[in-house]
Amino acid sequence: MQGAPGIEVSPFVEPAPAATYSEWRLIWRSFRQDKLALIGLAIILVFILGAAFAPLLTPYPEQGRGDPNILEKFKPPSAAHPLGTDYLGRDVLARVLYGGRSSLSMGFLVVVIAVLIGVPLGAIAGYLGGWVDEIIMRATDVFMAFPSLLLALAIASALGAGFTNTMIAIAVTWWPWYTRLVRSQTLSLRERFFVEAARSIGLPGHKIVLTHVLPNVMTPVWVQATLDLGSAILISAALNFVGLGVQPPAADWGNMVSQGRLYFIDRPWFAGAAGAAIFLTVLAFNFIGDALRDAADPYLRRT
């Protein structure tokens, strides 16, 4: 027998399996086959860019922010006002672009907060198990026992109307879903031997969760988050519709529908434009999320 590095081993000739792409590249390859998803992506991009560059895109930025222009009120769509004007004479296109700032950012922030709270809790519950798991899961039970719109409505009215309070209220009802998702993923991950291997070499628990557990549970979280962006926008629009959320004169798609609904039968354009904006955005997120889920399916099943 030779020295340590050269110990005798059986001859070994084996080609590596052919395709070696990263997970996200494979997901993208399948995702881009989906026409609806690409349309969805385009819609979202248009709304995001529209909201971001609203002051440059509309000649009436001050109306978008809420300044009334009473003399021009109830003008139907025309060249000067492509989507017409509302009951205070403001340009509806400007309102929709500015309203997108509130609606899109609230939906986005709600999901971000929910992920930031829900994911760590789920990983901890799943990895530690025992009474920690029990407490966290019972907490999710209780929050999930409430219909989320209702709980968000109650909390938002307790905190007082406003963008931040409404956003917090929705996020509070939302995190348990991520906790549940991540916990179940973590549990199935624990069955896999590499986590046990990490334990067997004495890697401390927090390191195992950070390096081995969390990175491996995030794919389904991203898929869920995409689908949830739509739902979060829908629910925030609903709260804005009943008068919580951003307060007039600031614009939000939800409160625009609310303000326009009394005139809807005769002058449908301004509630209609805002309603259509919500519908298209949520539809787009659903298209994207569905395609992402289908594309990621082999990877979701693998764990």
Binding site: L150, S157, G243, P268, A276, V282
Partner: protein, 340 residues
């Protein structure tokens, strides 16, 4: 585990959840607001009102004493008094609840009656024409804001086609000429019992638009989830085994697969129920439907805090009860449930 043991366990868990719900509503009512007494009194409170509220709510007491008083009064069925109407909330709820339930149940019937079969067929013939149609229908249904859909339907069926009434539960002239004697509080049933045909017809016409509006989300949800669970079940090894045994396709689909797929379907019904219940808040505003939703949104606008908290509590209790019932139904269908 024995079945009764499972039942007991579920009941126990439900009670724990109800208890925790009361904790959270207490938290929302008394801890979250910066000035709970002011919140409890409503907009533009006077000094005197606040002082009175502080006393009746016991806000000067430690929190656990406050909670105990809150809990005991809840258990006595005392939900407090509405600021706006100065009526006991429980009494008011009794008049609003049947209207909401009638709407919710009607919408569930529409949604599930269409959604479940469509989901099954769409899953069984994945990729077919019907599947493509129902998938688009489903995603449209879950994407459209309920309040916007309501407005669109009013525009089409009331303003343009002049087929259906725009709002309310009943027309004024019918209500006057053919008065309804409330028995169940469900106008459709009450008119049927009384044989009050003109009123029945009118009530039914009023119900159609709001019920369809409310049904949309649950319909989309049912199609998607039923489809997914059928597809998953059809991929199971025992379905392959049944095919290999030569069993006909309809038996495999409608007997073997469906009984397995029924569990997720029951969950769908539970979820649809809660979405209808909360969706009714918006639909009732659009259609001026005198139910819980309108009661609640008016309370939000007038800062009638006791009402907001009470409605939240009552609806949630309802939801917990429905889920408990569904759980028990599942336990009787699937022999494995009681084991896990």
């Amino acid at each position: 585990m024995q079945r009764w043991e499972y039942l007991l366990k579920r009941l126990f868990l439900a009670i724990v959840v109800l208890f925790s719900i009361s904790l959270i509503t207490f938290f929302i009512a008394r801890v979250l607001p910066s000035d709970p007494a002011a919140a409890w009194v409503g907009p533009r409170p006077t000094q005197e009102q606040i002082a009175k509220a502080t006393q009746t709510l016991g806000l000067d007491q430690p929190l656990y004493v406050q909670y105990w008083r809150y809990l005991t009064s809840l258990l006595r069925g005392d939900l407090g008094v509405s600021i706006k109407s100065r009526q006991p909330i429980l009494t008011e709820l009794k008049t609003y609840l049947p209207a909401t339930l009638e709407l919710v149940i009607a919408s569930m019937i529409i949604g599930e009656l269409i959604g479940l079969p469509l989901g099954v067929l769409s899953g069984a013939w994945k990729g077919g024409a019907l599947d493509n149609f129902s998938r688009i229908l489903a995603v449209a249904c879950v994407s459209v804001p309920t309040f916007f859909l309501g407005l669109l339907l009013q525009l089409v069926f009331f303003a343009r086609l002049k087929l259906l009434p725009i709002s309310g539960r009943i027309s004024n002239e019918i209500a006057i000429n053919y008065p309804i004697t409330p028995i169940t509080g469900f106008y459709t049933i009450d008119t049927l019992i009384a044989g009050n045909w003109p009123a029945f017809q009118d009530v039914l016409l009023h119900l159609i638009l709001p019920a369809i509006t409310l049904a949309a989300f649950g319909l989309g949800l049912s199609i998607r989830m039923t489809r997914a669970s059928i597809i998953e079940t059809l991929n199971e090894k025992y379905i392959l085994a049944a095919r290999v045994a030569g069993l006909p396709r309809r038996t495999i689909l409608f007997v073997l697969a469906l009984k397995n797929a029924i569990m997720p379907t029951l969950n769908v019904i539970g979820l649809s129920f809660v979405y209808s219940l909360t969706g009714s808040i918006l639909v009732e505003v659009i259609f001026s439907w005198p139910g819980l939703g309108q009661y609640l949104t008016n309370a939000v606008l007038s800062l009638d805090f006791p009402v907001i908290v009470s409605v939240t509590l009552v609806v949630t209790v309802f939801y917990v009860a429905v889920n408990l019932a569904l759980d028990l139904i599942q336990a009787t269908i699937d022999p494995r449930v009681t084991l896990s």
